[in-house]
């Protein structure tokens, strides 16, 4: 199943470690700014919109 993993910058090292440990080091990944918890929804939507192309690429590569 096509998959892309989204995570914030603070969890980049963890994401790589988990993917590598699971034998999926090349798993398509898209990094979001950190933190997101305290940002208003429009900012979060904008951050995702900026990365929409990368997400689609990850799902179709």
């Amino acid at each position: 199943m096509p998959t892309v993993t989204l995570f914030t910058e603070a969890f980049a090292g963890l994401a790589v470690a988990v993917a590598t440990g699971a034998g999926a080091a090349e798993l398509p990944r898209v990094v979001l700014p950190h933190p997101l918890n305290d940002r208003p929804e429009p900012d979060i939507r904008a951050a995702l919109r900026e990365r929409a192309a990368a997400i689609v690429e990850g799902l179709t590569c």
Binding site: F11, G13, L14, A17, T20, G21
Partner: protein
């Protein structure tokens, strides 16, 4: 016999500690250099084959072989007779029900607590009495430390990198206690978990930092009232996990005083769980959402939010000395549950 890579380093604590620390293989404290001779001596503490693989340690899935665990036990300062406890800890940590994969990278201040029952406590010199969760005893200090080092070195849980614990917790260096069976008025935790009294049993449970519960009254009414007021907290992780297995560590004096009120362990569990509930609207929207993820049917019990939905989930252990009226509650902050097994030599 040994298969690990051998580095050309001097047998010197400062040099080896610096070399390992630069590579993220320590907890920040100096380590005993794991020379071939020391590792072989450590392996004399077990009958298990060094090549035996206990399983993959998440999230990086390093193999928890007996040899690798012995290396970490040397680094931690363990004696060979401690090794079976360290090995059994990994037998349990790698059980699916413990959910180590969730614990290792979490932002939650979580660590495995090791609780030991049976004669093995005395064979290895494990403190069960005064200062049981503090410094001063080699077995308590180094068994728990060996587990932490192996979680870092085999599971990749390097603080800040993979271990994303927001503030950390001093118990992540080591947290290993013996139950004070000799001063307890009750059957030990191991009996609650289905083992015969007198068997060497290890229980591992994921816990947060301890909440001290102080009441120096000799009246059981006072003690149980203080317990009931101290356990519930809207910020405590286990209120969002109805099936968690938190630990209530009673000092033997509190346990004896409670027997004056007719409490055995089952009665105390039932009383505490029934009388430490929170109102249905106590949780913030976010925390209510987290609790509801476990199932709407488990959200409330009799219209209230209990600290655990099933009284048997509350792990009661009697530990520490009788010098004062201090017990503690160690909330369970993840979705795994306590695991127990006989200590496998």
């Amino acid at each position: 016999m040994l298969t690990s890579t051998v580095e050309d380093l001097p047998d010197d604590v400062e040099a080896v500690s610096a070399w390992l620390h630069e590579r993220g293989h320590t907890d920040g404290l100096p380590v005993v250099p794991p020379t071939r001779e020391r590792v072989l001596r450590m392996l004399e503490g077990t009958t298990r084959d060094p090549a035996t693989d206990l399983g993959a340690v998440p999230p990086t899935n390093g193999a928890a072989t007996v040899e690798k665990l012995a290396i970490n036990a040397v680094m931690a300062g363990c004696r060979p007779e401690y090794l079976p406890v360290v090995l059994t800890a990994f037998d349990l940590l790698l059980q699916p029900g413990f959910q180590l994969a969730g614990m290792q990278p979490t932002t939650n201040p979580l660590t495995p607590m090791l609780i030991v029952n049976g004669p093995v406590r005395h064979r290895v010199g494990l403190n069960c009495s005064t200062g049981v969760m503090g410094p001063g005893w080699q077995a308590n200090a180094t068994i728990g430390r060996a587990v932490r080092l192996a979680l870092i070195n085999l599971g990749g849980a390097r603080p800040g990198e993979v271990d994303k614990c927001t503030q950390g917790f001093v118990g992540k260096y080591t947290l290993c206690v013996g139950e004070n069976e000799e001063d307890s008025p009750w059957a030990p935790l191991s009996a609650d978990r289905g083992f015969e009294r007198g068997q060497d049993v290890l229980t591992v449970v994921g816990v947060n930092s301890a909440i001290n519960i102080h009441d120096s009254s000799g009246d059981w009414n006072d003690v149980v009232k203080t317990f009931c007021g101290s356990l519930p907290s809207v910020g405590t992780p286990n209120v969002v996990d109805p099936h968690a297995t938190p630990v209530l560590a009673l000092n033997p004096l509190h346990a004896r005083i409670l027997t004056d009120g007719g409490f055995d362990k089952a009665a105390l569990r039932e009383h505490l769980v029934a009388n430490t509930t929170l109102p249905a609207d106590a949780l913030s929207e976010r925390r209510a959402h987290l609790r509801r993820e476990e199932g709407e049917e488990d959200y409330l019990v009799d219209g209230r939010i209990p600290i655990v939905n099933d009284a048997d989930s509350l792990q009661l252990v009697v530990t520490g000395g009788m010098g004062g009226g201090h017990s503690c509650f160690l909330p369970a902050g993840h979705y795994g549950q306590a695991q127990s097994a006989i200590v496998d030599i």
